[in-house]
Amino acid sequence: MFEVSQYTFVAAMVALAAGLALYLVNVFGPRGVRSLSFNTGGTQETDSFGSAMKTAGRYGSILSVNAFGFLTASIIARWIAAGHGPFSNMYEFSVAFAWGAMGIYLYFESQYHARSLALLVLPIALGILIYATTVPDDIQPLVPALQQDLLLTIHVAAAVVAYGAFAVGFGAAILFLVQRKKGMGWLPERTTLDEIGYRSVMIGFPMMALTIILGAIWADIAWGRYWSWDPKETAALVTLLMYGGYLHARVIRGWRGERSAYLLLLGFAATAFTYYGNYFLGGLHSYG
């Protein structure tokens, strides 16, 4: 099972990289170029390019769905091999983070058909997977502090869904800021991007709150203290507060639009810090 998990992990990376390449063609590929000569007439050339782009986008989506499927299989196989939820070290947590980002991205793609979002979210997922290859991936037995399979699983699951949603919100915010002038046809409209950003926080914010609450419940069981100002826990609070700020900014005149988009960027910086912070901050979450 461990080997199955490794193979599907590699398959997911390959599918993700290929999918990303196709998304690039879909967004930046030749659009309505007439000067290149084909056998047929000019108008048809345009159509063939246009349809090639659409095809690239469609196959990009298919590959991404595949990558997500492989990643899911990899997590399940590792779960079976380890005998507990595979969320106990940096490798396992990274795979889960990439899984969350991809899952949430695919959900938004199905809702808004905004494939340009893939150009920002999928590299994040791919980057995390590449990072995962650099850390030890052997299955380690659980130390006493982590021997709470239910909480380990749902605490981390809620966290990766939140992180994934925030990654999508980050992508939407970047595109929102790039889409300054009207007429950037390759990007969705600003209102759509604003809505995607908001809806990503609608998913991420309650999930982040849930992550912190489950963490507090766990800390209360394990240590008798629901809150210890532990660095990772504080960083998670910073992230939650940042998105809480975003939710309020969005209804204040003068803060809608660009300023809110900048808050989404800051929020994702806080997310990345929370994800990686325990490595250089130490504290109760430093399990390896």
């Binding site: 709150a209 209360d220 100002w229 204040i252």
Partner: protein, 488 residues
């Protein structure tokens, strides 16, 4: 959420509002203030995450704090440390200014809640049913149908469609004109209060815990020993046995303490405490926190009177050499004895394995009287007293906690999630319809929904419109059939 902040800029104010209290009230009704406070608290928590934070126990001890600051100077530089120390940034979460920010946000939340309560209540009960024609024309989402029947009949059809779309419908009729109001998830309007007030409740939970909570994070019990818990209870704890197990690969597998809880000396509970399974009795909870070795020591005078007989937990580490160390006092002799064990994992030149080093100090002056190594099981005369290091044992370090505020925290947490789910996933949707008979006897049916330009609202309107449209069309088809029959 409406922009209540802008209300502060309305020029006309009542007498009460112009008074100081009114101004303060207005100040706290602002969402803009909420945003500023949230961002300020975010920055403070971020500073508290990035900078080393001093433990409260160290902060309250001037000597230890000075030492801590010296180390901080080594890390951050002398001048930055002074600046950070001035703003209490090494102690963010316990400072007055941090509590002030939290306090202001709490007032902000409470005032905003009170301020918005009436408006939201009115949105929910009882809503305005009849709207103007202009409203139907200008609503962001609207639709229009014409039916060959009386207004009442058309309204009944619309109502049927709305009910199918799981809307709650109220009607208000007059001759030839029926107004309908439909909504769903109206109680979700209160989601915002639930999630915001849950924050106030969490704060209340921490205050309750702070006032009535008791804890000892370093409650040490050696094997075979019964110790009083203290903390205002009449409980005591005996450690029967401590076990630590390791995986073949090396990492720890299990730490467990077999405990007996006694009340006034009577056994009341018995159980095993593990890292993820505490033992509770009467609101008091015992958590596995740490463990270590003990040295069982006996001290006798020359004539055989026992001065000490029991395990000494080596719960600390020596600053140099990182050796486990513990101490006990011999009150009658005015002596304090430090027991130092061998460094683990390597051969120790100062304390070889199987030996314990003792250092005997005068309690009053702190002067070192004598120091020597004891081998296991042999009595040795040290400073005129007979010392024996009998054997090694274990102690458990428990975290003993009583926190009556914790249940408030869990209730508040549940409320927060419930409030957020209501707010984000069960939004209150409102729709108005009007059925008006026209001079030609036909009835004009109009539907309207207000809201942001948002694909979710637009999809919801589309769903309801299709549902109602389907009912109207099938009704019209029946009507046409009947009319067609008459013609033939």
């Amino acid at each position: 959420m409406e922009n209540v902040g802008s209300q502060a800029r309305v020029p006309q104010r009542t007498y009460w509002e112009t008074r100081t209290l009114g101004r303060m009230w207005h100040f706290f009704t602002s969402v803009r203030l909420a945003l500023v406070l949230i961002l300020a608290i975010t920055a403070a928590v971020f500073a508290g995450t990035m900078l080393d934070q001093v433990a409260p126990s160290v902060r309250s001890d001037p000597a230890m704090y000075a030492q801590w600051l010296t180390r901080a100077e080594g890390r951050y530089g002398v001048f930055p440390t002074k600046v950070l120390e001035f703003f209490e940034l090494f102690n963010v979460f316990h400072t007055l200014w941090f509590r002030l920010l939290i306090g202001l946000l709490t007032v902000n939340i409470i005032v905003c809640t009170l301020n918005r309560w009436k408006g939201i209540w009115r949105t929910v009960f009882p809503p305005r049913i009849r709207m103007t024609d202009a409203f139907f024309q200008h609503a962001r989402f609207n639709a229009k149908y014409v039916m060959d029947e009386r207004a009442e009949a058309a309204a009944a059809t619309v109502k049927k469609g709305l009910k199918h779309a799981r809307y709650r419908v109220s009607t208000e009729g007059e001759a030839g004109s029926v107004a309908l109001y439909a909504d769903r998830n109206r109680f979700s309007r209160f989601g915002t209060f639930i999630s915001h007030l849950s924050l106030v409740l969490i704060l209340a939970g921490t205050v309750v815990g702070g006032i009535w909570g008791r804890s000892d994070p370093e409650f040490i019990v050696p094997e075979g020993i019964t110790r009083d818990v203290g903390l205002g209870t009449d409980l005591s704890v005996r450690l029967e046995h401590f076990t630590d197990e390791y995986y073949v690969e090396g990492p720890p597998k299990d730490f467990r303490s077999d405990l007996v809880i006694l009340k006034n000396g009577e056994e009341v509970k018995r159980g095993t405490v593990r890292v993820n399974s505490p033992l509770g009795y009467g609101g008091m909870k015992f958590h596995q926190s740490f463990f270590g070795q003990t040295a069982v020591m006996t001290v006798k005078t020359k004539d055989g009177t026992s001065l000490y007989d029991g395990p000494v937990p080596l719960a600390w580490q020596t600053r140099e050499g990182n050796r486990p160390v513990g101490s006990f006092t011999l009150g009658t002799e005015n002596l304090e004895v430090w027991v130092i064990g061998p460094r683990s994992g390597e051969s120790d030149p100062l304390v070889p394995a199987g030996e314990m080093r003792i250092e005997v100090y005068e309690s009053s002056s702190g002067a070192l009287r004598t120091a020597t190594n004891l081998s296991q099981g042999t009595e040795q005369v040290v400073g005129g007293l007979n010392f024996t290091f009998g054997r090694e044992g274990r102690f458990t370090g428990l975290s003993v906690v009583k926190d009556p505020g914790v249940n408030i925290i869990w209730v508040a947490s549940a409320l927060m999630i419930i409030g957020l789910v209501m707010l984000f996933y069960m939004p209150h949707r409102r729709l108005w319809a009007s059925c008006k008979e026209m001079p030609d006897g036909k009835t004009e049916v109009r539907l309207a929904m207000t809201g942001q330009r948002d694909s979710q609202i637009s999809a919801e309107f589309e769903r309801v419109r299709q549902r109602v449209g389907k009912e109207l069309r099938s009704r019209q088809a029946e009507e046409d059939q009947v009319q067609g029959g008459n013609h033939v």
